[in-house]
């Protein structure tokens, strides 16, 4: 592995206390680095590692592949032209500013609007977090599902943790989350909605599960998005049906009706089933 250190800066010094445990930065290859991190975290030694490579070089390579126009037309599809920049943006490796600066070179504002707007969502979530850090784990507003907060279970069931739910598509997403540390935004919405609205689990339990595994897991974007799905930071709950799932995820995930029976209904019928006490959702 190359170890790139920009010139013009005094190298990290030797005068700092030698008693402190200084960690190495040069490894023969990625496998050696992974082995080293496993040794630092023995309790996680058997856990999977993502193919997504960290660092500015990898982030810059992702940035170079950005297609902001195609993003606008295909972003909702799980095989759409998404940027995969989120882990790099999450840790400040790549900035929203430089990403936007590149995007606006790729088309007129209208042509790249959806992509720039997506960057703005990240900026929005961060501003909310800055303003009110305590809101990150609390319901910002009451649920608008017809249920009060204490209706929802606080623990994530084992079948969700182990990708053994009755839904093949949800199991696919869970396996992808655990195995790769990445989920397409639409898949996150499907899985979050499934956890909160089909399984009646408090959004906090789902958010914690996502944060554990997502490489881009960020308390602001992750938790506030969960609150948006749950309806504690939006005007109504987000939910979906099988037709929507098949349209946007069908090329990637197992979306056959017989493997996803919980979603196989009209929106009106699902609203009546999921939110039976909400007049607003069953008008």
């Amino acid at each position: 592995m190359k170890n790139i250190i920009p010139t013009g800066r005094i190298p990290p010094s030797d005068y700092l206390c030698e008693m402190m445990e200084k960690l190495p930065k040069n490894f023969a290859d990625r496998a050696a680095l992974i082995d080293y991190v496993r040794a630092l975290s023995p309790e996680l030694a058997d856990a999977p590692v993502s193919q997504t490579v960290g660092g500015r070089q990898a982030g810059a390579a992702r940035l170079a592949q950005l297609d902001a126009q195609s993003y606008g037309s295909s972003r909702n599809y799980l095989d759409g032209a998404v940027s995969y920049l989120s882990p790099y943006i999450r840790h400040g490796i790549v900035t929203l500013n430089e990403t936007r600066n590149l995007a606006i070179q790729q088309g007129a504002p209208k042509q790249v609007e959806k992509f720039v707007q997506e960057l703005a969502w990240r900026d929005f979530w961060q501003r909310v977090y800055h303003q009110s850090p305590a809101k990150i784990w609390r319901d910002i507003e009451p649920y608008k599902t017809g249920y009060s907060a204490d209706h929802y279970a606080t623990e994530l069931p084992e079948d969700i943790r182990q990708a053994r739910t009755p839904s093949a598509a949800m199991n696919f997403f869970i396996k992808q989350l655990i195995g790769t540390g990445y989920l397409h935004n639409h898949a996150r919405m499907y899985l979050a909605a499934y956890i909160v609205h089909w399984r009646h689990i408090a959004w906090q339990a789902g958010a914690q599960f996502f944060l554990q595994h997502l490489l881009d897991g960020d308390p602001a974007s992750n938790n506030l998005s969960f609150q948006w799905v749950a309806s504690t930071f939006s005007n109504k709950p987000y939910f979906f049906n099988l037709e929507n799932l098949q349209k946007f995820a069908g090329s990637v995930a197992p979306c056959a009706a017989h493997d996803n029976v919980d979603f196989d209904d009209s929106y009106d019928a699902l609203a009546a089933r999921l939110f039976p006490h909400s007049e607003a959702l069953n008008g």
Binding site: I5, P12, E21, V37, L40, A47, G55, H91, N101, Q212
Partner: protein, 143 residues
């Protein structure tokens, strides 16, 4: 004597404005704090991603308790000033607050995405977007 740059997990690039503010003779450090990662619930995937990232940065990497090591490293370097990046993370803010009691700590904002002409309206995204869009399509988010 050299000033310290404390890079934390929200600012992992060599072009963060903190480097320009601190100057070329400052020493940059990252603290690999297992307990911090444990509290955050970070998987092995994330830890590998972070380690790969910091290997490419002009920092010394030390392992231990973030607060304790920052104090020790500042003392060992006889650092007059510590520079770091702002963060909304309450855990990092708490460390910054404690460091400020004993050291001259300067927090540097990352480059902005947009320039707003008033307080941000954060009630709903599209209220914010109506403000942000005025500069969101401009280079560096500035008219």
């Amino acid at each position: 004597m050299a000033d310290l740059i404390w890079l934390h997990e929200d600012m992992l690039r060599a072009t963060h404005p903190v480097f320009a503010h601190a100057g070329d003779d400052a020493t940059a450090i990252f603290i690999w704090d297992d307990a911090y990662f444990d509290v955050a619930g970070y998987s092995l995937k994330r830890r590998v991603f972070l380690y790969e990232t910091i290997c490419q940065l002009p920092v010394d990497v030390y392992r231990g308790d973030m607060m304790a090591l920052l104090g020790q490293l500042a003392e060992a370097a006889a650092a007059q000033k510590i520079y770091t990046g702002t963060s909304p993370n309450p855990a990092l803010q708490k460390i910054m607050q404690e460091l400020s009691a004993t050291h001259e700590l300067t927090q540097i904002d990352d480059e902005p995405f947009v320039t707003l002409d008033g307080p941000a309206d954060l009630k709903r995204f599209f209220r914010y977007w109506n403000q942000a869009r005025k500069t969101a399509f401009d280079v560096d988010g500035a008219n």
